[in-house]
Symmetry: C2
Subunit: 445 residues, 2 copies
């Protein structure tokens, strides 16, 4: 993309309403614009990141054998009356009446609707196991929306639902989700720690939240420092392998890691003192096993192997996709702006032309731009007639992890400069070498 043809309305001023770094930087980098309280338009740069995260979630869910579909944003109140949650949900549920005076609502989650789909079609245990998921806009009418997309009202979320014949099978689905989530977050450049959580309004005995450590997190967290040494890495997982998935769960959840909701001072005290950590965390996902809570309330049964009806065991599993962008920025920024992890950056590399209008500099930039595009990468080329300082500030603010700087002086010596946004380190090299370097960085991502 050539910046002269893009829509990147960066702001010089820091917006007064933004209290935390991610909110401030998303506004300043031209990623979002508030439409109403807690509701945002995703400007081109923001949408590009959102779409990348969405695609990563799709890929990892499908790798785990989960099946994508899409439920609508608006739901009929009927289903929620059946489960008993219509009255229980409170004022965070956005209730709507249509032109025929039917009670509707903007879905905050989809347990009821997916259970209704399941019971409409599935009759036999032979059709299990089944895990369906979707990524869809949801609404929670927060009384005081704040922190930008971190605590908005209209938000984009992946929610998946498993249907299993037995508790054991359902716990395998639970473990599979935990594994797939670990992979998902790592691909996004995040360390998200699974912590024992509280069931809340969805219910469930087994539930883990995934928390990203960040000073601005809304939860206080307590953990054994050994846990932050764990990485998922590129291990190959057979998601059908019960023992293998269980071992990952075991590895990532056996150490103490809890939020203030479930924190137990006595148990925490058993962690050696030098490994006890207290910090703040941002919740970016949660998994639940809640057994037959919804299948009982809504009559979701299958015929079991013995011919008798069995209420299916269910769980639900969410990733806050729009909120993740805030979490990624909270964990990856400095005074100058955002620092995107390579896995989610909106553009792979920025090209800064130090002297737009200079024939040689223009030609070198064009040639870099086209070569990178030909390799399937997306460069953002700042071809505007602006001062170099302004161009650097914009690139730093929007946080592309790599920048190639092209100017007449370097070109005389046959070199351009490649700069890492994260370390600030620059290296001079021939344009061809710069292309190879960038290709190498993104190979396999």
């Amino acid at each position: 993309m050539r910046l002269s043809r893009y829509f990147l309305p960066v702001l010089k001023e820091t917006p007064a309403e933004a209290q935390i770094a991610s909110h401030r930087l998303m506004l300043r980098a031209g990623m979002i614009k508030q439409a109403s309280a807690g509701i945002y338009s995703w400007l081109p740069l923001g949408f590009k990141v959102l779409r990348k995260l969405e695609n990563i979630v799709h890929e990892e869910q499908q790798r785990a054998g989960h099946i994508p579909m899409l439920m609508p944003t608006l739901q009929s109140a009927e289903l929620w009356k059946e489960s008993g949650r219509y009255d229980a949900y409170g004022p965070e549920m956005l209730r709507i009446r249509d032109r025929h005076d039917r009670d509707m609502l903007y879905g905050p989650t989809n347990e009821e609707m997916i259970t209704d789909i399941f019971r409409s079609y599935v009759r036999s245990y032979k059709d299990l196991p089944l895990t369906l998921y979707h990524i869809q806009w949801k609404f929670r009418d927060e009384v005081r929306p704040r922190f930008g997309v971190m605590r908005g009202r209209e938000f984009f979320m992946k929610d998946g639902y498993n249907f299993d014949l037995t508790k054991e099978d359902a716990l395998h689905a639970y473990n599979r989700h935990l594994v797939s989530y670990l992979r998902t977050y790592e691909r996004m450049g995040l360390q998200a720690i699974p912590m024992r959580a509280d069931g809340g309004p969805i219910g469930g005995d087994y539930t883990h939240e995934f928390l990203v450590l960040a000073e601005t997190g809304e939860s206080e967290v307590f953990y054994d420092s050994e846990i932050t040494d764990l990485t998922f890495g590129d291990r190959q997982i057979d998601y059908d392998d019960v023992a293998q998935c269980e071992a990952v769960l075991e590895e990532f959840t056996s150490r103490y890691a809890r939020t203030d909701e479930t924190h137990d001072e006595a148990v925490f005290a058993e962690v050696p003192e030098e490994r006890r950590r207290t910090a703040r965390g941002i919740e970016v996902g949660q998994i639940f096993y809640f057994g037959t809570k919804y299948s009982e309330a809504m009559g979701a049964t299958v015929q079991g192997p013995d011919g008798k009806p069995v209420e299916v065991h269910m769980g639900s599993h969410g990733i806050g996709v729009s909120r993740l962008i805030g979490a990624i920025i909270e964990a990856n920024h400095d005074d100058k702006g955002i620092i995107w992890p390579e896995g989610v950056t909106p553009f792979h590399v920025g090209i800064v032309n130090l002297k737009t209008g200079d024939a040689e500099a223009d030609a070198a930039c064009e040639s870099l731009y086209k070569a990178l595009e030909a390799k399937g990468l997306e460069p953002l080329y700042d071809d505007r007639d602006e001062r170099a300082g302004g161009k650097f500030a914009t690139m730093d603010l929007i946080g592309l992890p790599w920048r190639i700087t092209v100017g007449p002086r370097g070109l005389k010596n046959g070199v351009v400069e490649v700069t890492s946004r994260r370390t600030g380190e620059s290296e001079e090299m021939a344009p061809d070498a710069a292309i190879e370097k960038i290709i190498g960085i993104y190979a396999g991502l």
Copy 2:
């Protein structure tokens, strides 16, 4: 995908509520399930097609230089009061009140919101031309939703908006959209004819609707038969080239083609009698140039070259993405089911194992399945232990354009059978040749 692990709830019975083929077939093929009147869940097969169409629209819009973003589904009533459409829109607008008693609405379209974004950031004519678009869920509270996704209430739509300094520039944007739409529909296997249309509630002197001919279409259409001989083909278009885009518009709109809303019997009579056609059509898109209607009402001005403020010239351009699926099926089906065009089929090829459990047949199917996947294709492998007749009926119903049938008898002779869903013709060939044939069909799509 292995059918034994997929969720494809096909129905044997024809649902009573479905009056037209696409609605009937989408329900029977397990693509959608009604959630409430005019609101659908997209089951896995339906979602897969929806996502393909979404991606095609994204690709073609970006090829034309239009910039993707995403506006929220809920809007504040304030903007609509500013444009004067809040009261004018009538009961099809779903009006919502949030917990703080603020008036909101579920966006039926986004002229106001995009104009607000534009005026918030853009100050100079130098930032023009600019075309932004998004693909988002919208809501129209139809009094009598019907025909499945063809006339639903919650629907998925691409809407794009151009901002230009002059009428001439805006008309180039108009032409660019027309060209990109022609390409888009053809990639989906559709012939959509641009017809002179009526401005309606969005307004505008220049507007064309795109109509797909189908017996069940809601509009009566009148056209010169020469128009159906036109194809866009694989011509390379430079979207910056004003004359080239205008020539395409000229070519595709100079012959008589109108809906009942704009039909003029006297002008139609000038078409030679043997070329005059009357038919029915489904509207799948519309483009508008409406000048300064919204920029005037909402103060969207830029500083012109002479330093004076200029109200920008705008247009809006929509494609009904969810409705397109209905239109594609209306134009591509037979008694047995859907017949997907190759460009939008949910799976590229079906593999039918005539004798699941037979070691040789199982191995041959596995090997075909893996070879096709390795080539980046998505086969749907019916590995269930079912009768061959049932497997064929399912494949015909869901409409994959190609099927490979594998059975012990053929394998003895070293062959499998490749069948075209459209023609019904079958050909025997070695498994390797079958793979090559399928790869060849999808090369370049």
